[in-house]
């Protein structure tokens, strides 16, 4: 079957889609957008989290046919998405605002990564790098989409709020401490930017 939908602001068309295919498969294998990850394919890990009409969902559990005419944002479009949200004031790049040392419970000092020079990142993406929240990185795309959406709803989350919002995203490398740091850092930077 054929499916038409919008991905990261661009209309897309997928042909010859098998009816049992998930949105995750279509994104990864048909649209060249492998950023959403295929860690469990049963909704238990959150690595494939995307926003479907603005709502974070596991793309592995959305049948491809169900996204006809709908809007999807993946990690590949997160920086643009955040930038558009911030337009008219605010700091989309994350380069402004709170220093690392001032962020809540911050311990280790990071220096800048310049490997991404020229790449514009959303606040949450930059915070994940700066806080050391990325190790193998397989859980990272899903966590970024989920954390960004939480900060959109709740710009000043408590630690318990962060944990609850991210309880659907498994990480096996970090023990979550640096992920907590990253979300706190992003929240602090975003609030300073407003």
């Amino acid at each position: 079957m054929r499916v038409n939908f919008t991905v990261n602001g661009r209309p897309q068309e997928a042909d010859d889609v098998w009816e049992g295919e998930s949105l995750l498969y279509v994104l990864r294998e048909r649209m060249g957008l492998p950023g959403s990850k295929n860690a469990c394919e049963q909704g238990e890990c959150g690595s494939c989290t995307v926003r479907l009409d603005g709502v974070p969902v596991c793309s592995c559990l959305v049948a491809a046919g169900q996204v006809e005419g709908r809007e999807v944002v993946t990690v590949e479009g997160l920086a643009d998405f955040a930038k558009q949200r911030a337009e008219g004031g605010g700091c989309a790049s994350g380069a402004c605002g709170t220093t690392l040392q001032n962020a809540q419970q911050w311990e280790a000092k990071g220096t800048d990564s310049h490997t991404g020079e020229g790449t514009e990142l959303s606040t949450i993406q930059q915070a994940f790098i700066d806080a050391g929240a990325v190790q193998c990185g397989f859980c990272t795309p899903g966590l970024l989409v989920a954390a960004d959406e939480m900060l959109e709803r709740n710009p000043t989350p408590s630690d318990a709020d962060i944990r609850e919002a991210l309880s659907g995203n498994l990480c096996r490398c970090t023990g979550y401490e640096k992920i907590m740091d990253a979300v706190r850092l992003a929240a602090a930077r975003q609030s300073e930017a407003v």
Binding site: T115, L121, F138, A160, R172, C173
Partner: protein, 799 residues
């Protein structure tokens, strides 16, 4: 063929980054990983590629009467169906140490989920449907599942006609390897003991549960060879096992490391590597294989489950007298890393304590259970669970504080291991315990808020099972010792190729190794080492592949030590060559070129007095310097097969934990409130990454304390929970804050004084949590993971 999309590229780290060793420079691959552009092995894609599917056994132990592939082959879209009979050469088995694992089952399957046949098709669903149409007729055999059934007089042999190098010294062919360690006089020492404590402990089967399932892409090449893009822990070990099965020389099997979604030991063995290559060579098309989570549980080895029998004695003033220990590890159907796990479990069975008289035996069994092998902590984890439980029991019996009792018996530099080997670097065991105990305690009753109980802070979490009823706090301590690097005489080396040149007027270093970056941050550290040693800011990390010599395995906490050591060594050799060029070009302009100690700093050649002699750009103008060299840590020796004596290890890593838990004692639910850790890291090359390793390792230890276990049916040897629905790993709501106190006592034998750090925190985390639960409940708890049933006395079936 053209390169597939997702082919790894060089990554250059910044022109402004100054970070050498000791600084928390950020990951060179960080930006790619947060934008979704970093290509993992499952992201590889090639025009016209096919999808591979593996048919696995549905039973654990059976003779294969027949396999019929006709119907599968006839399906439209199916390009190949392969069985054992299609293997191209006489080499039909592989294995890390013992080549006992069939590429495809032949005549017999020995565990649930063993690969039997392969399919390549144009869509994964077509491949799945075709695999389902392959008819395999099994004649089931009785299953061997434990020591009793493995060594019974009439036991079937899991492997008949063994001729491996352990076959000669094991007491039974269903025992992979046995390592006794005998030292001193246990009988006499036992006489001196005022108290004796015995225990029988059970450690469940843990899964690495890395998030990126096994996957890779094999692309056939015009010269008849194959290029494999793969997520692994050790490219050259894979290569050594793959090439003979394909009947290709090693230089025709090109391997490139694709993005690796975690490993933790689970990628040390082969998974789909040979299968993808066989299908690609047969069809002439690129073949991608991606396991789903269900298959992943069958696609890699797990942590050995173990039974541990311990007897310790102590004098009434609290000194340990002796240890009698017997450790039985279940290796499952194939050997994998079992022999080395036996070596670790036995040689580290005493823990970080002084015990002069020991009688220890460790064995690994062949059974029809899932194969077990490497996982973070590797044999030392199971032992630590047992000896730390023993330490608590002894402390209780002696009426001593558990931490003080441990400190009293703690090893230090110079202590002899039970193997007779002296510990020849700092061993701050007592200090780590002191530090972890001194950390501030988390406040009580954190769940109380103005709006009532915040269930997220309570056992049961969002499930709303308690508002404080039945909740009791407990505190527990544990400490452990882990060896670093490959032991027992293994030639453990790494290779690094370092190139230095001028690009756009700026000196740039390129580091090329075959090290598997699995998330640990080795690439970050390599760039830091190059900056420190070569005085450059820009460093390019070349993708890891087999175009350079082996970097050994990303395991055994060894990569920063050994491949880091190799990068340092090659940088030093490059520096010498650069200075030679400088002397040749500019030596006549300044006498210091000949007389002073020269360094490379800030892009310049400087004297040790700080005088600038030249820009590196001028020295390297028109000339590039490149060195590829191997580097080894100090050699080790095998353990004596009868006494276990020998200088088997090269370095040790120590960590201590304090766990604070709150247990709902009525429902048996546990919330870990805090897991504080103190660890000696020798020298923190990258402090941010060090914390990440410690916190991550700690959390894996927490998982196997309270929830993680692969459950195997003892009647059928079939896995009962191969999914993330029923194999649970900690979520962010299960994971507490993990404050870390890092100690840096240099090991003079290691590069920069560093210590391998990745595994030690996984050891002591589990027994600390168990100790805290015992403290809260007063229960004995001799197994891990501890389930609600064990805390409520409801573990037995009603019937």
């Amino acid at each position: 063929m053209a390169s597939p999309s997702g082919t790894p590229t060089k990554i250059t780290q910044g022109s402004q980054t100054k970070g050498g060793i000791g600084e928390s420079t950020l990951r060179p691959d960080g930006t790619l990983k947060v934008t979704g552009e970093f290509a993992y092995s499952s992201d590889m894609w090639h025009e016209d590629m096919l999808w591979g599917q593996i048919l696995r056994s549905t039973v654990a132990h059976a003779e294969i009467v027949s396999i019929d592939t006709g119907e599968a082959l006839a399906m439209p879209g199916v390009y190949a169906v392969l069985t054992y009979d299609d293997l191209p050469t006489d080499v039909k088995n592989y294995g890390l140490e013992i080549q006992d694992t069939p590429v495809l089952a032949h005549g017999k399957v020995r565990h649930h989920g063993e690969p039997v046949a392969l399919v390549a098709a144009d869509h994964p669903e077509t491949a799945r449907r075709a695999a389902a149409k392959i008819k395999v007729d099994y004649r089931e055999l009785p299953v061997i599942t434990d020591e009793a059934s493995a060594t019974a007089p009439d036991a079937l042999l899991v492997h008949e006609n063994r001729d491996d190098h352990h076959a000669g010294h094991v007491p039974h062919p269903n025992i992979v390897h046995r390592q006794p360690i005998v030292r001193g006089d246990v009988t006499a020492a036992r006489e001196r003991a005022d108290v004796i404590v015995e225990g029988e402990y059970t450690f469940g089967m843990q899964d690495q549960a890395f998030l990126g399932p096994e996957s890779g892409l094999a692309v056939p090449e015009e010269d008849g060879g194959v290029h494999l893009y793969i997520a692994t822990q050790w490219l050259h070990s894979d290569l050594r096992q793959i090439a003979p099965v394909l009947g290709l020389p090693e230089d025709k099997v090109r391997m490139t490391l694709s993005g690796v979604g975690g490993a933790f030991g689970g990628r040390e063995d082969l998974s789909m590597q040979i299968h993808a290559c066989l299908l690609a060579l047969r069809t002439g098309k690129p073949v991608k294989i991606v396991y789903n989570r269900f298959e992943s549980f069958f696609g890699h080895v797990h942590r050995h489950p173990a039974k541990l029998y311990y007897e310790h004695g102590a004098t009434k003033d609290g000194k340990l007298t002796h240890l009698k220990a017997r450790i039985v590890l279940d290796g499952g159907a194939y050997a994998s890393a079992s022999p080395a796990v036996v070596g670790n479990a036995s040689s580290l069975s005493v823990g970080p304590y002084v015990v002069e008289d020991v009688d220890i035996e460790a064995i690994a069994l062949y059974t029809n259970n899932p194969p077990c092998g490497a996982m973070r902590g590797f044999g030392a984890v199971q032992a630590c669970f047992a000896y730390e439980a023993q330490m608590d029991k002894l402390a209780v019996k002696l009426g001593m504080d558990p931490v003080e009792f441990r400190r009293l018996n703690a090893m230090e530099q110079g202590t002899l291991l039970p193997t007779g080997q002296p510990v020849d670097s700092p061993a701050p065991v007592a200090e780590l315990l002191r530090r972890v105990k001194a950390m501030p305690m988390p406040p009580e009753r954190q769940w109380e808020s103005s709006e009532g109980a915040d269930v997220r802070q309570l056992p049961g979490g969002l499930s709303n099972t308690t508002h404080g009823e039945g909740v009791v706090r407990g505190v527990g301590y544990a400490v452990g010792i882990k060896n670093v690097g490959f032991s027992e005489g293994f030639d453990d080396y790494s290779t690094a190729k370092v190139r230095m040149e001028v690009l756009n007027g700026e000196p740039v270093a390129t580091v090329h190794t075959a090290m598997a970056e699995v998330g640990q941050g080795g690439v970050t550290v390599h760039a830091q080492i190059a900056r420190t040693e070569l005085g450059v800011t820009q460093v390019t990390i070349h993708p890891a592949d087999t175009q350079v010599g082996s970097a050994g395995s990303t395991s055994a906490s060894r990569q920063t030590y050994v491949t880091g050591g190799a990068v340092k060594n090659s940088c030093e050799l490059v520096r010498e060559k650069v200075l030679e060029i400088g002397r040749r070009k500019f030596g006549s302009y300044h006498p210091a070129w000949a007389t002073a100690e020269l360094l490379l700093e800030g892009g310049k050649v400087v004297t040790d007095g700080g005088e600038v002699l030249s820009d590196l750009a001028d020295v390297l103008e028109g000339e590039a310097v490149e060195v590829e060299a191997e580097w080894r840590h100090r050699p080790t020796e095998p353990f004596d097969l009868r006494t276990g004596q020998g200088n088997g290890h090269v370095q040790y890593s120590f960590a201590a934990h304090r766990a604070v838990v709150e247990v709902d004692t009525e429902l048996g639910l546990v919330k870990v409130i805090e897991l504080a850790c103190a660890q000696d890291v020798g020298k923190a090359l990258n402090p941010l990454s060090v914390l990440g390793q410690i916190q991550g390792g700690t959390t894996q230890g927490l998982g196997v304390a309270v929830m993680e276990e692969i459950v195997v049916d003892p009647k059928t040897a079939k896995v009962k929970n191969p999914s993330f629905t029923d194999y649970l790993i900690p979520t962010i709501l299960d994971t507490p804050t993990i404050p870390v106190d890092v100690l840096e006592l240099a090991d003079e034998h290691a590069p920069y004084g560093l210590r391998g750090i990745g595994e030690a925190p996984t050891l002591s985390s589990t027994p600390a949590v168990l100790a805290a639960i015992r403290n809260a409940t007063g229960l004995e708890l001799n197994r891990t993971p501890v389930r609600p049933e064990h805390l409520t006395g409801t573990q037995l079936s009603e019937g």
